[in-house]
Assembly symmetry: D2
Homo-oligomer: 144 residues x 4
């Protein structure tokens, strides 16, 4: 019932390339967001529902290592995992893989705080016990 | 006391280029937004103040003709004018000029509705008489 | 054997929204590009192959009317058609439709020149007779 | 004659915000690029000149900590320093500061490889001795 990892598909857009002929580096962080969105959907808790319940997850840290360039029209897979989950913070790990040959183009992580609409920290276990339990299960599953 | 036009400076970012080696076309509409922002600031009414007073100007139409490509690190001027102004709509015209040689790279317009935070149309003259008067003056000035 | 229109799916990204809570207007032109890319793939001629053969299609004009806002996580369909096709120019028409209720959120067009890597106009019929024939067939099909 | 640090000014664009009402996180990496561009210009060696001489600096790593959100129309300063410089790699450090009150909104770094147009590593000291010397001087200056 848990979820170890979630895969999301990306088709590289022309807009995401730059004059070097490859994808501009900041776009990988946008693809990480696509990975997070699909991860939460896979848990049965779309992120859009969080915000409707006054729960937001702004990034407090972001990191990426770029190993090989993605190019226009490449079909990619973003693999997303939760690597750490505490009362007021959650960390996701990502791999961006080129479908054609399975090469890992980039690896990274993002850390997020749980806050309300006024930007104040919230304790997830109290504010949204259902999501808290689903994330705990996902974490346990991934430790098996 | 009016304002015929407003100039805003843009330095082309690497991120704005694409694999063709020139600026990707949708970025011109972002630069038009920079032009609008500086236009309203020039009127003494920064756009950020509108939204604090529950007045929003979503785009209802956008158009651009691309005459010559902008390139990385180019210094550009966005010239912004109000070309039409009615009770519930406003239209801006833009020229994107390359500073180095004065060439007009792009020309376009955007049309915006006046709405409140719920997306309902508002009559500017009632909702914000000060801004309405300033825009009327700007229009009259530009007809001289 | 031709192709009247092509549909491409878009899931709205958080990055594409702005502080008004809806999608920022320039992103529709990026989605139009996704529509074009899938249109050419549907013809059996991926756009990436054009550039490998020294054929580029820079935008010379872009237009969009925004009827209703797209929002984060919306599932959208971009419907793309060729509306005009001449020796050195091609025009695409687009509709952006919200899958949930079929509402047309935006309509627009883009016009493109056929140029080579040096930016010089090329006559498509000579430079790429196969693509020229496929596009002619697509046009005829859409007139039925 | 060296250069310890370089400041670049950023005015936050509406397009850079998201539905949370603040700047979307990947934009900080674009501002870091603006910082690098102005850093090289300050050394008397605009980055655009590198590429004309077949020298490219793709990012191999990027990191950012987000301390407080930037908002639409904020005036920001990106402070850029070279923190490490070797034969085939260079690392930049950045601070994004809100001008109004001097608060540090974000801190990060990017690491870049020196490569040629084919993506092969180049030894900067051989490929561009002038830039290599200027960067060495900048590093020494910053150690004073």
């Amino acid at each position: 019932m848990g979820m170890k990892l979630k895969e999301a598909k990306i088709r590289v857009r022309y807009q995401e390339t730059d004059k070097m002929g490859v994808v501009y580096y900041s776009n990988y962080f946008i693809w990480f967001e696509v990975g997070r969105t699909e991860y939460f959907r896979g848990l049965g808790m779309p992120y859009i529902e969080f915000e409707k319940n006054d729960l937001y997850l702004p990034a407090v840290e972001a990191f990426c290592q770029f190993r090989a360039p993605a190019r226009y029209d490449d079909l990619l897979t973003v693999v997303t995992r939760v690597s750490s989950f505490q009362e007021v913070r959650i960390t996701f790990e990502y791999e961006v893989i080129r479908d054609q040959d399975g090469e890992v183009l980039a690896q990274g992580h993002t850390e997020h705080a749980f806050v309300n609409g006024q930007g104040r920290p919230v304790v997830l276990k109290k504010q949204n016990p259902f999501l808290w339990r689903r994330l705990m299960e996902a974490m346990e599953e991934s430790e098996d």
